[in-house]
Every structure is written in C-alpha cells, then in structure tokens.
C-alpha cells in the first residue's frame, strides 16, 4: 500500500511545469516564450503587486505518445490561475499556431478561477479571445483537450472555455462551473449556497458529479500518469467533428431538457437519484473505477 501511494504523483498538488513533466513524453517539452523571454503583467506592476515571469501560464510544444502536440498549462498557485492580458495573449497565440500547424492536439491544463479582476477589461477581452481561438482551432480540425484537476478548478470564463473544448478529462478533485461557490454565496446568500460546505461544493461542481452528468468525457485518478494515459486513450479514439448547426441544436435541446429535469434540485444527491443511482449517498466515497462502472451501468 505504501509503495502504491509513493508511486503516485498528485496532479492536484503539482505545479504547471511538474504536470507537463508527467504528461508529455520525456524530454519532448519545448516552451514558447519561457520565463526569460516572457513579460510579467504591467497591470499588476501598476497595482504594486509582484508578477510572475511567465504571467502564470506555460505554453509550448511537445510529444504525447510520439504524436506532436501543443500545450498551455495554467499555474493555479499564481493569482488563482486567473487570466490577465499577457496570460491570455500567450494562450490565444498558441491556439492560433495550432490552427495553422495542425498538431495532433492541443492539451489545455485548466486551473483557473477565470478573469484576473486586477486587469479588468483586458482580462475579460483575453477570455473572449481564448473562446474564439478554441473554436477556430477546433474548426481547423485540431482537437483541444481540457484537463481539469487543479486546486482552482475551472470557473468563471475558464469554465466556459473548458466547455468549448473538444472534451474534458477531470479528476475527482477537479471542479467545473460558471460562478464559483464564494461568488454565489456573496451574491445570493449563504441560504442559497454555503461555500464553506466543501462536500456540497464537490457534490455540485466536483469531478464525479460532472462525469456522471456527462459534462466530462473521462474521470481519471488524481495522478500525473493517469492524466497522461487518459489523454492518450481519448485522443486515440477521437475524431474532431466538423462544426455543424444540427449538432448545436441537438446540444441546445439536451441542455433545455436537462434544465427542465433538474432545475429545482438543490444538491448533487438529488440529481444522482434522478439519474437512476440507487444509493446516491455512496457516490462521494466510491473510488474512480467503481464510479466509472456505475456510470456505464446507468440507463441512457
């Protein structure tokens, strides 16, 4: 047991560069605009806050199981992975390069609360440019795979960006939503949502819930090697579909029916019961393999 734990390298605990080291083929990573060439945020400097050399995101190229890929990895420990002007511009530039060079995939390690509020409109514009660039890259036939399992999850604008990607791989520790728990509590009150109730937060936004709901293509262990294998397995099977209005309409219809079914529920437990899970109380304690088996056994 001890050796099993020692053999695991947590994605949640790792820095962006440590995640890249565990995900890409050994020795294949090449950073574009590394810390020596990138610039720290001028907006943070004006506010008298120290920036990061790379503005909190590592972009570049590498190989995954021998296939050429481009990557963008957000550093959640720097300002909550929030997207500022330079941070966003690096991601947008990388995605545009992907649309041109057509690598096998873009791997997008999302670990972010969304817009960096210190940068106000520049951050908001950066997020909208990322959204457009993700869609343009996919339209060029290049899959964009989001990997979510960091401490900041994927919230705010980055929650939307995650859903615009071809697919999301998530760990139980990962979270995905639009408004973050603290934001909801601040705006609507603790009666609406108690952001201190961590199990509630995970039952509503956490990786297991998102996987059961079909929002994420895969649930993986909180482990660098598991994310790597999950990405390899997903990309081996995935063919990026051409953009189509009929697919969009079908998705819209599915979302409307989902809203109609679940909108009065207050907790993931109610949603899981409604999905046909006999013992929703047991879900938070299930390990990854049991949960995947449970989901595969559900009526579709």
């Amino acid at each position: 047991m001890k050796s099993l734990i020692a053999a695991r390298h947590s994605w949640f605990e790792a820095t962006a560069r440590a995640r890249l080291g565990g995900l890409l083929d050994a020795g294949s990573r090449h950073e574009i605009m590394p810390p020596t060439e990138s610039e720290a945020s001028p907006h943070l400097a004006v506010l008298d806050i120290p920036g990061a050399f790379d503005d909190g995101v590592v972009v570049g190229s590498g190989k995954l199981a021998g296939q050429p890929v481009l990557f963008a990895a957000q550093e959640g420990q720097f300002m909550g992975g929030a997207v500022g002007e330079i941070h966003g511009a690096k991601i947008v530039g990388l995605l545009r390069r992907a649309a041109r060079e057509k690598p096998a995939a873009v791997l997008f390690f999302i670990d972010s609360g969304g817009v960096r509020l210190h940068e106000a409109n520049a951050g908001l514009i950066a997020i909208s440019e990322i959204m457009r660039a993700v869609l343009a890259t996919r339209a060029a036939g290049v899959p964009v795979l989001a990997l979510v399992g960091g401490s900041c999850g994927a919230f705010g604008g980055m929650g939307i960006v995650a859903k615009l990607c071809s697919a999301i791989l998530i760990s139980e520790e990962g979270r995905l939503a639009l408004s973050g728990p603290e934001v909801i509590e601040t705006v609507a009150g603790v009666e609406e949502f108690d952001s201190k109730d961590r199990s509630l937060v995970w039952r509503v936004t956490g990786g297991k819930h998102r996987y059961l709901m079909g929002d994420c293509a895969g649930l993986v262990e909180d482990d660098l090697a598991a994310f790597r294998q999950g990405a390899i397995d997903f990309l081996a099977k995935w063919q990026e579909p051409a953009p189509s209005v009929s697919n969009l309409r079908a998705t819209q219809k599915a979302l409307e029916s989902r809203l109609a079914t679940f909108s009065t529920y207050r907790d993931g437990l109610q949603v899981w019961a409604s999905l046909g899970i006999a013992q929703p109380d047991a879900v938070p304690l299930l390990d990854r393999d049991s949960l995947v088996a449970l989901k595969e056994g559900l009526p579709t």
């Binding site: 590394p34 810390p35 120290p50 420990q77």
Partner: protein, 103 residues
Amino acid sequence: MEKLDFSFDSAPVSRSTDPALCGVVGSGNLEILVQSGVKPGTCEICIKTAARGFGDTWRAVIGSFAASHAAGGTVIAINDMGATPAVVSLRLAQALAEYQGGA
C-alpha cells in the same frame, strides 16, 4: 511592492541548466530565475517582493546564501509573495542545484 537589488561576492559556480527556474509566486512562496552573468565572482540578485520593509532581512538571507554556496557568475531574479526567510533559503539552494544540473 518593493524592489531590492543586491550584489555579493561568491565563488564561481559551474553551470549546466541555463536558465533555471524554481518555485511559484503563490502565497508564502516565491519564484527564482537563475541565469548566467558576466562577472564570475559575483552573484547579482534583483528582488520584487510584496512585503515592504524587509530589506535588511533579505540582505542577511542572500548574504548568507552567497557566502555558503558557490553562486558567482549568476544573475538571480526573484518574484516574492511573502515567503519566510527559511523558504527563501531553501528555494535559493534548490534553484542553484537546478542551475548546476543536480536538481
């Protein structure tokens, strides 16, 4: 934010990984970028820190680092978000080890 610049005499270091980066600008943490400089017997350090008024502490920590490690011929840039002196010392040793290729 406070900007601090220091220059200390230090025995020359052999380089393997240039540049070397370690740490993250997170709460109680800092990032350190080590690059090669032109003066082989000098370690130049430029610090941007969120905590004002700790210039003397920085001078003591960096001075002790430059005296106890061979760090000459380097230019070190630091972005700090309130790391304690113990964390700073550990990160400096880690960054230098990485620069020498032994991380």
